[in-house]
Symmetry: C2
Subunit: 514 residues, 2 copies
């Protein structure tokens, strides 16, 4: 069947009937949420078990169950591989892996798919596992990708039932309180898994720093945790920081950042109380810096910035240019230190951040957001999941949530990457529909969604280079080098859910390239 | 029917079959919790309505519904009366009032019972409303009293479904984030209502200090709130502090406090990592002070203290004698200021504090607790709800939760109050069963529950005056003045629930006195 933006999606996957995307805010849910498990705690003061294996045993983890993880260590995570190895050693089969995201460090997951330990994945896949899956990698069902907010929603809605949540906890006490901002190897917030901890049949905290009761802040609470395990290693904070966390030095990207900051100013929203989502990526970081300097010049104090938190965002807080950082995910060590030290740096969870089915989420309060893309198309649709080679190499992150929420959503992209075009007729995969994208800023000019003539006028009045998206595309085309095009098979290897649980696109198997 | 401690309780109330108390930890619950309401938020950034009346209208509040409130302003609350007046003006009838607690300031509730606005109450009643109810005051069903933890549990279990939660919020933003520690009239934590906010069909924040987004800490979150209302007055923090928050000057009470502190020391638990619940009441405050001094002398650092928080508890934190205060309820302005300023002063909610059906609660981590009583009996049962005149004048608070949780539960009482005996054959009402009471400390000596011979030996070895409870009672009896005894009718006016939802006692109508 076709959804509201014309993408062909399957009607069902196994027993599950799929709901087609109907529009960014078209779906309304009512009725009860999923019920959490009631459990009477025995009066014990210690939940410590000696090993991950003992925890697996105690939780009755067995074939076909669903296990979940957070990704706050990003490419430095050491937990998922340990748990899967332990499951494989026990001969457990057909697990559904439900991480918030996988990274290159999780390449061993491929082996666990091949040996039958893992047969389904619901979660973002950055790098090799995604590449494997998109080349037909043997999963029993298509993978399901969700935004941060959508994953939270899906658990609360009962779309995904978690049997055992394994939570890497940089600091935990024996009774089950934990956070990610303290301990030997802090990774920032671990609240991505707060909903898992509340809904899972069993919740296991795995820590490398068992601290005296009561560990606080309690991102994970004692009332949710069944088991605590101490291990040598849960993750390497050094690998949280990736290449995308450096301020860009590229003249093209600096120009995009400069234009973006000027567009924000021209839009009229850069006044006291201004709020924005920056995030990682060289351009976003540069925009954050430029806006901060502009706010300082103009004497403007913003209400809040959202991250992932970075040194640059923390710098705005320290300079008094924003009152608050709402932090769902720390992207560097400065942000983690600030979470410990700055009262205005506030831990939030993905439900607070972006849940479509709450009574209001933080992304709806954003004045402006600067987001990336692998591709954008002439309908302003954005792809962040696949590359032009068709391979599924990235997760959604908060892209959909922020784009849908911010009053002005700006996609900041070069028109070319390695002479491959970024602006295309039709994106390979729709992650975020053009309906919620307002502006595309490139080094060749700024394209404004026809829905937003108000912005177009303001930008033009400010002398900014407003240009039709087609023109930007056409101009870039001249420098494009010939590239191999993917040949897609019929098999659906992954579903891209919209934040309301409908399916916005399907990713098909890459059979080869021409 | 009779429950496990021989108290006669009704088999049912209306449609509801009552479960008899079976033992402090005899009941185990499994299966699903109640489901929360799913709701898709529209993308708005402002939930402000102009008045409480407008909120009542918007929430569709009508006859027979359940409305809830917190009691953090205690006798200074200004919200409950305002809301009930507004409901009465609209002609709404038969409301079930579900406050965490009522105080003397809520005497107008009596009028609203008489005029039919309120027909049921589930919640603690301190003072006139309780006296009215226990003299047969016209409720359609017996009132239900629960401990802090039991109320939270009851909501999560679906025992009480809330239609509209009205939450007095000392500081709130227009989007529904709120806390009790900031604003013009801070009252301490408002997390008593966090479970209400999450489960209610509609949640209304009523604030007298509308602050810019994002208000934090978010004790109440935007994702839970439907409506925000700004009013002139929600409560008077000056009335949070009651007479029971003064350090006692009575030689009798000072002796009890001194004996209690000595008994703690003799018990062997006063070592590094020591944890205790102090709370209000002149004796508890004095014990807190004496223990702090002893810890300082001995170079001991405790892990945590629980309150309600007071100046004396904060003082221990500031002196480095305890690492943490876990704060469910602030009892004075120093505690509120400390919540804003001290990183080691941690806001918790009643679920974290005391939920029987969580996977572990904070009271289970207590080494020692010093609690009050109106009466104790020879089975070590404790009454905190009724007086010897039979009138229901007090709530349960955290009494049951702490007594059941602490490794050593000490009841600190004088043997006489105004020549009325405190140690009796059988308490008028059982709030907390002798099963979870270890020690009764009086000015005449220390009685130890026969279950705890280990403590008895340690106390005796330390030269403390350990005496049979009967002897203490007998000795005090000589000074008792003759008092009028209540004549109880058959009508049950209130049920005392145990923290697991079973009924531990029934309070019967006082027909008169002889």
């Amino acid at each position: 069947m076709k959804n509201a933006i014309g993408r062909e999606i399957p009607e069902r996957i196994g027993d599950r009937a799929l709901a087609p995307f109907a529009g960014a805010f078209a779906t309304t849910h009512a009725g009860p949420k999923a019920a959490r498990h009631q459990k009477t705690a025995p009066r014990v003061d210690d939940k410590l078990l000696p090993s991950i294996d003992a925890a697996i045993e105690a939780c009755g983890l067995s074939d076909g169950m669903t296990i979940s993880f957070h990704h706050s260590f990003r490419d430095g995570d050491r937990l998922i591989n340990q748990v899967l190895d332990a499951c494989a050693s026990r001969g457990i089969k057909d697990l559904r892996l439900f991480p918030t995201a996988l990274f290159p460090v999780h390449e061993p997951v491929i082996g666990h798919i091949e040996n039958g330990t893992v047969s389904r994945i619901e979660g973002s896949m950055n790098g090799p596992v995604g590449a494997f899956v998109s080349q037909g990698g043997k999963l029993a069902e298509p993978a399901v990708l969700r935004s941060h907010g959508a994953r939270w929603r899906a658990v609360e809605a009962g779309n995904v039932e978690i049997d055992v949540a394994f939570i890497a906890a940089p600091q935990a006490d024996r009774y089950g309180n934990a956070n990610g901002i303290r301990g030997k190897t802090p990774c920032g917030t671990i609240s991505f898994c707060a909903v898992d901890a509340q809904y899972a049949r069993k919740t296991v905290l795995v820590t490398n720093d068992l601290a005296p009761y009561p560990v606080h802040p309690m991102e994970i609470q004692q009332g949710w945790a069944d088991v605590v395990v101490e291990v040598d290693e849960i993750g390497d904070p050094g690998s949280i920081v990736s290449g995308t966390l450096q301020l860009t030095k590229s003249p093209t990207r600096l120009r995009i950042a400069r234009l973006t900051a000027e567009a924000v100013k021209a839009s009229g929203c850069l006044v006291d109380g201004f709020s924005f989502q920056g995030g990682a990526g060289g351009i976003s970081l540069a925009v954050t810096k430029f806006l901060g300097d502009e706010m300082e010049r103009a004497g403007i104090v913003g209400s809040f910035g959202m991250g992932g938190g970075t040194k640059l965002l923390v710098d705005l807080l320290h300079r008094g240019l924003i009152r608050t950082i709402l932090e769902g995910q720390a992207f560097d060590l400065d942000a983690i230190a600030s979470l410990r030290e700055d009262a205005g740096h506030v831990l939030i969870d993905p439900g607070f951040y972006a849940n479509y089915d709450s009574r209001g989420c933080a992304t709806y309060m954003l004045d402006a957001a600067f987001l990336g893309a692998t591709e954008v198309d002439l309908d302003f649709n954005v792809n962040v999941n696949t590359h032009s080679d068709g391979l599924l190499l990235h997760g959604i992150g908060g892209h959909q949530d922020v784009a849908a929420g911010a009053a002005m959503t700006m996609i900041t992209v070069p028109t070319l990457r390695g002479r491959i075009p970024v602006i295309v007729d039709q994106v390979t995969t729709v992650t975020t529909p053009g309906e919620v994208v307002d502006v595309i800023v490139t080094e060749r000019g700024i394209a404004v969604n026809p829905r937003r003539d108000d912005l177009k006028e303001r930008f033009a009045a400010a002398g900014l280079p407003v240009r039709p998206l087609e023109d930007l595309r056409h101009e870039a085309e001249k420098q494009v080098r010939p590239i191999a095009r993917p040949v897609f098979g019929d098999e659906v290897v992954a579903l891209i859910e919209w934040r309301d649980g409908t399916v916005i696109d399907a990713v098909r198997k890459v059979e080869g390239w021409t």
